[in-house]
């Protein structure tokens, strides 16, 4: 298992794909936090709760890009045909998918931590630049940072699982973007009022990082367990699908 994991980690860092995803993520977080930090009226940013909301783009964008990273780790292999040599040297397909999950979770955690840190740093800088009193001390950033890290790591695992099930790279990436950016927020928005939407994986990721919208999300610890269950279920389904299907 360790050998396959080391191979997957080398694959992660031996192309510029993940570097490109990371740079894209940092740029988007920077842009989103700056827009909110400088665009919102000062009176909307004069409480600890409102200032915490400035950190939300870090969690959302970090989670999304980590999910794409995870998905690309398997759909990229299928797209470029490297899945064949990969499975020829490591015929244990469940072991290969498991290694991809761990490697992607590690990289995803880095994405989440970086996105959370950039969001925290830029939002504080924006508030200071506008002479708005900062109501958050350093301890208030711990949960958002840890939450972003955990949410991104778990969504990276979900990305691997979804990619292993769908296999087509474009369909997988579009599907993940659509789910995280639109489906949960728009189509299922009303469900939040019915308390069902809180249990969806995107909402669970937001809850882990301590976001407190109205109506409220799950408690962070509960959301962490729920999102971990989503990750395990999706990765397992991806492993089973990969194990049962023929490789073209």
């Amino acid at each position: 298992m360790t050998a396959v994991l080391r191979a997957e980690l080398l694959k992660q860092r031996s192309t510029r794909t993940n570097l490109g995803l990371f740079a894209t993520m940092l740029g988007l977080v920077l842009l989103a936090v700056l827009l909110h930090g400088f665009g919102l009226p000062a009176k909307n940013l004069d409480s600890a709760a409102s200032q915490l909301k400035l950190l939300a783009p870090g969690e959302i964008i970090g989670t999304l890009l980590a999910a794409l990273l995870g998905a690309m780790s398997i759909t990229g292999e299928i797209r470029h045909g490297t899945i064949r040599p990969t499975l020829l040297v490591s015929p244990g397909r469940i072991r290969v998918i498991t290694a991809k999950v761990w490697a992607s979770m590690l990289a995803g955690a880095g994405f989440g931590l970086a996105a959370g840190a950039v969001a925290a740093g830029v939002s504080r800088a924006a508030l200071q630049a506008r002479d708005i009193t900062i109501h958050l001390d350093l301890g208030d950033y711990v949960l958002p940072l840890l939450g972003s890290t955990a949410a991104a790591a778990l969504w990276a695992a979900i990305g691997v699982g979804v990619g292993a099930i769908v296999r087509n790279q474009v369909a997988t990436l579009v599907g993940l973007c659509a789910w995280l950016l639109f489906v949960e927020n728009l189509l299922l928005g009303d469900l939040a009022n019915l308390t069902v939407g809180r249990f969806l994986p995107g909402a669970a990721a937001a809850a882990i990082s301590g976001q407190k919208p109205d109506p409220p999300l799950l408690a962070p610890a509960v959301a962490l367990v729920l999102l971990a269950l989503y990750a395990v279920a999706t990765a397992t389904a991806g492993s089973v699908a990969t194990n049962r299907r023929d490789v073209a």
Binding site: G81, T82, R84, T86, L88, V89, D246
Partner: protein
């Protein structure tokens, strides 16, 4: 020696088994486990049969041409043999076991199924290093195979800058990482220039001369005729012939004559 069973005997003069069995002395010890043993292998996709009741086996130290028209089922058979696809019925074993059940497959079997199974943005060296890591092969072996396939000077370039011939050789380098006993190559001469074809032929002969077994899928008959000891010819997923090349061409016919006769007869 090559063995084929009943399905090839239908074609009389081109069935290798009767000739090879007759030539086997009664006192000879029982044969070792074949390197490749395909028995009653079938693969169906819905109502379409890609491989139908295919049986043949290969012994060590032989170079076998696996021939057939496009769509004959050659690539499907190789995927079944290498555990990338599951047979509908029958079995395909290497060294007496399913590929998936081999303890250390990269050290037993090296395979190249497509000429461009690489991430275009990854360097040739990193492609090989990732395979070596997964197979627990020392990184020094990566440098050795790069030298063998004469790609050491280009190893740090991204694969998308490689010519088709260089990609073929990189694929071969990956197959050689574990210093395997069996090489399975699907259309290895595709895209190679004459010098590349000559290099490949020399390489394969040298590999076999050192005891290795090679199974080459191809439809470049002229090239195959210069490289292989024996052939397995299939069409529509069925075995048409399995015999030593010198047995097939012993009456003065060329491999192309025999191939066309068999495949034309099968099509009609």
């Amino acid at each position: 020696m090559i063995e084929a069973t009943d399905s090839s005997k239908r074609h009389g003069a081109y069935s290798g088994i009767s000739a090879t069995d007759a030539a086997t002395p009664a006192t000879e010890p029982p044969p070792a486990t074949p390197v490749v043993a395909v028995r009653a292998l079938s693969k169906r996709y819905g109502n379409v049969g890609a491989v139908e009741d295919l049986t043949f086996s290969l012994d060590p130290g032989t170079v076998t041409g696996f021939l057939g028209p496009n769509g004959a089922g050659k690539s499907t058979t190789l995927r079944l043999l290498l555990g990338l696809a599951e047979p509908t019925t029958g079995e395909a074993h290497v060294f007496g076991r399913r590929y998936r059940d081999l303890d250390d497959p990269a050290r037993r079997v090296g395979a190249v199924l497509e000429s461009n199974d690489f991430h275009p943005a990854r360097s040739g060296r990193n492609h090989l290093r990732a395979l070596a890591l997964a197979a627990q092969i020392p990184s020094a072996r990566v440098e050795e195979v790069l030298e063998i396939v004469e790609l050491a000077g280009a190893a740090d370039r991204r694969v998308k800058t490689y010519s088709l011939g260089m990609q073929q050789r990189l694929g071969l380098a990956g197959a050689l990482l574990g210093d395997p006993e069996l090489l399975v190559l699907d259309e290895p001469a595709n895209g190679l220039d004459p010098a590349g074809v000559h290099w490949l032929r020399t390489f394969i002969r040298r590999f076999a001369d050192h005891g290795g077994t090679v199974l080459i899928s191809s439809h470049v008959l002229a090239e195959v005729a210069q490289t292989v000891d024996q052939v397995v010819i299939i069409d529509h997923g069925r075995l048409l012939a399995a015999a030593r090349l010198d047995e097939l061409t012993g009456r003065g016919e060329t491999l192309e004559d025999i191939y066309l006769e068999l495949t034309t007869r099968d099509a009609s």
